[in-house]
């Protein structure tokens, strides 16, 4: 069986990812000071998704994992989005 | 071919007929095929199996055909259902209020009744309300069912097409007397209906404030005001009387005073009156204000 196949991510890469994440955190906080009204949810979730993407890809090593695992992770998010969407087929048209 | 009790019987029963007919057809053909194969290819008769290659065309056929068939069945069902959600603008509005475990109906002009009397051949829209938990407004003869969800305004509508009495039953499980939560729907000619409606009493307006609190919280559904035994003990003559209760398994007697009544409302399963079952009444903690409780106590004092 394959053991110890995990890619070693350099300290430098991890530090850079942290900087990116910090940047987006400040971005999302400063964006809320503008009143974007209906878009504020979209923007906040978009930024959160980008941050999540970085955590998944680098911190959680998804970039170096098998295609199968990457597809599975994507599938979970798609499934969850579909469940939310379907629930709102009910709530949005009440 | 179908009854005319309401305008939906035809659509619903037609779908039942088509889908049910298909179901019977499938069941019979599967059974015949199974019996046929079991007899014909029995090991005694056919000791050696013949391997058969998969046939893509055959597979494709029995994927496509059922798909088309189910889409057709869905369409039939949707056609039969759609009119149920399109209530005409000129329909008479009636409120059906479900509470544990009693139906009551409110007519325009603030009239109430325990029987749902309706004129024949007139469309009526029933607004479905609930005072406590979910109840189901189910009239089997009319092919109508919709839940009364507390905090939501569901509705159903129909045009009654036959004179007579029909059963209205609660279809959503709602507690110990769920199966006794029934009412009668009486379909009468228009003139009779008008006469009946004028004779009906007005809503609780004018009634005592304490009674309104009891009514609002659904207390009177289980606790009678006239001394008769219901799901819970009667309120008549309760205040100041000697009550035999069981607390934590021990029997004792207390005087029904202010604090006893308050405890019974907030922690109904603490003291159980002899002859009644525990765990049926819900706690009203957080649902009733202290002021309302005092109003109730004052009102109970008057019930001698």
């Amino acid at each position: 069986m394959a053991n110890n196949t995990t890619h070693t991510t350099e300290y430098k890469v991890l530090a850079r990812v942290l900087l990116v994440l910090m940047f987006f955190t400040f971005l999302t906080i400063s964006v809320t000071t503008y009143h974007l009204a209906a878009f504020s949810v979209t923007v906040a979730l978009l930024i959160a998704s980008v941050k999540g993407f970085f955590v998944l890809t680098y911190f959680m090593h998804l970039k170096y994992e098998s295609t199968l695992l990457r597809i599975l992770v994507a599938m979970i998010f798609v499934l969850y989005a579909v469940i939310i969407l379907i629930t709102f087929i009910d709530y949005a048209f009440r | 071919m179908f009854s005319n009790a309401s305008n939906f019987v035809h659509g619903s029963d037609m779908s039942t007929f088509i889908i049910g007919g298909f179901a019977v057809f499938i069941l019979v053909s599967f059974t015949i095929i199974m019996i046929l194969f079991v007899v014909k290819f029995n090991r005694k008769r056919n000791p050696k199996a013949t391997q058969v290659k998969d046939n893509v065309m055959l597979e494709a056929t029995w994927i496509t055909l059922p798909t088309l068939l189910v889409i057709f069945m869905f369409y039939i069902g949707w056609e039969g259902f759609l009119p149920m959600r399109q209530d005409p603008k000129d329909a008479m509005h009636v409120k059906a209020i479900g509470r544990m475990w009693k139906w009551s109906f409110e007519y325009p002009g603030n009239k109430t009744s325990d029987t749902l009397v309706l004129p024949i051949d007139k469309s009526v829209r029933v607004d479905l309300l609930s005072k406590d938990v979910i109840h189901g407004f189910f009239v089997p003869a009319f092919r109508i069912k919709e839940d009364c969800v507390p905090g939501k305004n569901n509705y159903c509508w129909f045009i009654p097409g036959e004179l007579g009495d029909f059963d209205l039953i609660c279809s959503a499980y709602c507690g110990v007397s769920h199966s006794y939560m029934t009412a009668v729907i009486r379909i009468v000619p228009q003139d009779e209906f008008d006469k009946w409606l004028t004779a009906q009493k007005f809503k609780t307006a004018g009634k005592n404030l304490g009674y309104q609190v009891l009514d609002k919280n659904g207390c009177v559904a289980c606790h009678s005001l006239d001394g008769s035994k219901s799901v819970g003990p009667t309120f008549l003559g309760l205040y100041g009387s000697n009550v035999e209760i069981t607390t934590n398994g021990t029997d004792h007697k207390v005087i029904a005073d202010n604090s006893y009544i308050t405890t019974s409302i907030l922690e109904p399963n603490k003291d159980i009156v002899k002859g009644f079952s525990p765990n049926i009444m819900q706690s009203y903690k957080g649902m009733i204000t202290d002021k309302d409780i005092q109003t109730v106590v004052e009102y109970l004092k008057t019930l001698k």
Partner: protein
């Protein structure tokens, strides 16, 4: 392929590890022993649930109070539901036969995480004890129905917290089992065994495990919210506090509808194993059956709303859920077509497992097609929440999953214990079960259509004929079940010694001795052929 090896063969039933006697079971890491422990636990719980069902049937034999009060009746159907759904049917096939045979079918020595497997078993037992204890605690058994609908469940005085917590714990066990099986299938297949060389039961377990893994967390959080609702009044489901009871139904069915597929998919897998063996034929449409399992699991996630057609959902949601419900019928139909095609030109041996498979197809067809009546919005208004639903899901769950379970145990018992049961008695028991089952549940279709709601303690006198027939069916069925179990127990203990391959099956489990040795394969198998290679 392994009988000729020099290593002395000792059955897994005899070989003990570092623990002796009873502890060799309690602390076992062997997937086969864990499977057997699940079998015993589930059989006991099944009979507890069945007796509760029978008591309800006796109560309903005449209108009015017959043997119990309404509150007792409500407690009975709730606990009957909780036991049967969460403890018997949802784990059922996958923990017993999945544990026992999944590793063998894919040529592995054990599941991927044996310790986790043992842990899930004991979590399961803990959940069962918690749930059963609600019967004896002070507030009395829950009376909400197994569906715990808010706001009734948040206000009733009975012991709902304990019951929901038990269901939460059982869900945990279910998740860990599913996780274990997925990893097992991905990582532990014998050399040469590709996904498309796996027997169809493994495919079914695979699809089931994914459903367990992804759906169960939703019920977990829902039940936690329900508990918090009762403890603190957080108000999510309480309309008086602005909450939404229908939201509870959404969350509940997001899990509980896929749960139906958790119950039925392994059953479909079992039937796909039994039919080729007793026809001595390669299964027809292997890939179609494998993919239909995945399709059922996938689409099954998106149809939960058909349980809520009368809850006041938007019209858009109603047609969406209705359409998808109809579409999910297609993969099930494909499976039945393929099974029938497999029987064609086979050499059919009418042994008890095959008889159960035939009964399964018959009952499952009734259950499935009546499901179409429930899925169609126009007919749903008439039959929703009535005895029709009760009949429908008992046809699917008991007639489907239950009969597949009985088929599976008749099929695999010789392998599990190395002994054979009495064929004739098994056939008689099958006949009694089949007749009793139909007598018990078929009248309820008619009662339901005439307007007898479910969970009714009492009914009008005009419905008595149907209720009496149904109760008689209940007694016949229980007699058949007792006969079946006695026969199986006798067979497992004192039956004749079974050969390694009594049915001339072609899948891997039949290539090793009965009962298997501790590590299943004394020499790692190398797979070069299809699972259903009959000459």
């Amino acid at each position: 392929m392994t009988e000729t090896k020099k290593i002395e063969y000792v059955s897994y039933l005899d070989r003990q590890g570092e623990y002796k006697g009873i502890f060799s079971w309690i602390f076992t890491l062997d997937h086969k022993r864990i499977g057997l422990m699940y079998l015993y636990a589930i059989m006991v719980l099944f009979f507890v649930g069945a007796i509760m069902g029978l008591l309800m049937r006796v109560e309903l034999i005449a209108p009015g109070e017959t043997i119990m009060k309404a509150q007792t009746y409500n407690g009975l159907f709730t606990v009957h539901g909780i036991i049967m759904i969460f403890m018997v049917v949802i784990p059922g096939l996958s923990v017993i036969f999945g544990n026992f045979f999944l590793p063998i079918l894919i040529g592995a020595k054990d599941v991927a995480f044996p310790k986790l497997n043992r842990l899930s078993f004991w979590i399961y037992i803990t959940g069962c004890i918690l749930a059963i204890s609600t019967q004896f605690l002070k507030k009395g058994p829950p009376d909400t129905g197994w569906s715990f609908y808010a706001p009734y469940s948040t206000t009733t005085g009975t012991n709902v917290i304990m019951a929901t917590f038990a269901a939460f714990v059982l869900g945990f066990s279910s998740i860990l089992t599913g996780l274990n099986f997925i990893v097992t299938i991905h990582q532990m297949r014998a050399p040469g065994m590709k996904f498309f060389n796996m027997p169809l039961f493994s495919w079914a377990i695979y699809a089931t495990a994914w459903t367990q893994l992804l759906a169960t967390p939703i019920i977990g959080i829902t039940l936690l919210m329900l508990i918090a609702e009762r403890l603190f009044g957080i108000g999510f489901f309480n309309p008086a506090l602005g909450g939404d009871p229908v939201l509870f139904q959404h969350l509940f069915w997001i899990y509980s509808h896929p749960a139906v597929y958790i119950m039925i998919l392994p059953a479909l897998g079992v039937i796909s194993e039994i039919i080729p063996t007793f026809c001595q034929k390669k299964i027809y449409g292997y890939k179609a059956i494998a993919f239909s399992s995945i399709a059922i699991a996938g689409v099954g996630f998106l149809v939960w709303g058909h349980h809520m057609f009368t809850s006041g959902m938007s019209d858009q949601a109603r047609w969406f859920f209705s359409l998808l419900t109809f579409l999910v019928a297609v993969p099930s139909a494909i499976k039945v077509f393929n099974w029938l095609a497999t029987m064609y030109k086979g050499s059919i041996d009418l042994k008890p497992p095959f008889l159960y498979a035939l009964a399964f197809i018959f009952l499952f067809t009734i259950g499935g097609t009546t499901g179409l009546l429930l899925g169609s919005v126009a007919t749903n208004v008439q039959v929703h929440d009535t005895a029709f639903v009760v009949a429908h899901f008992h046809y699917i769950i008991f007639g489907g999953m239950g009969f597949a379970f009985f088929g599976a145990i008749h099929y695999w018992l010789p392998k599990m214990y190395g002994r054979m049961y009495n064929m004739k008695r098994a056939t008689i028991a099958w006949g009694i079960n089949f007749v009793g089952f139909n007598l018990l549940y078929f009248p309820q279709f008619i009662l339901g259509f005439e307007g007898v709601p479910r969970r009714y303690y009492d009914y009008l006198p005009q419905f008595q004929t149907g209720q009496v027939i149904s109760t008689i069916g209940g007694f016949i069925l229980i007699a058949g079940l007792i006969l079946m179990v006695i026969n199986l127990v006798q067979g497992a203990r004192h039956g004749e010694i079974a050969p390694a391959n009594p049915w001339q099956g072609s899948t891997l489990e039949w290539q090793i001795p009965s009962p298997p040795s501790l590590e299943n394969f004394d020499e790692a198998p190398v797979i070069k052929k299809n699972p259903y290679d009959y000459k």
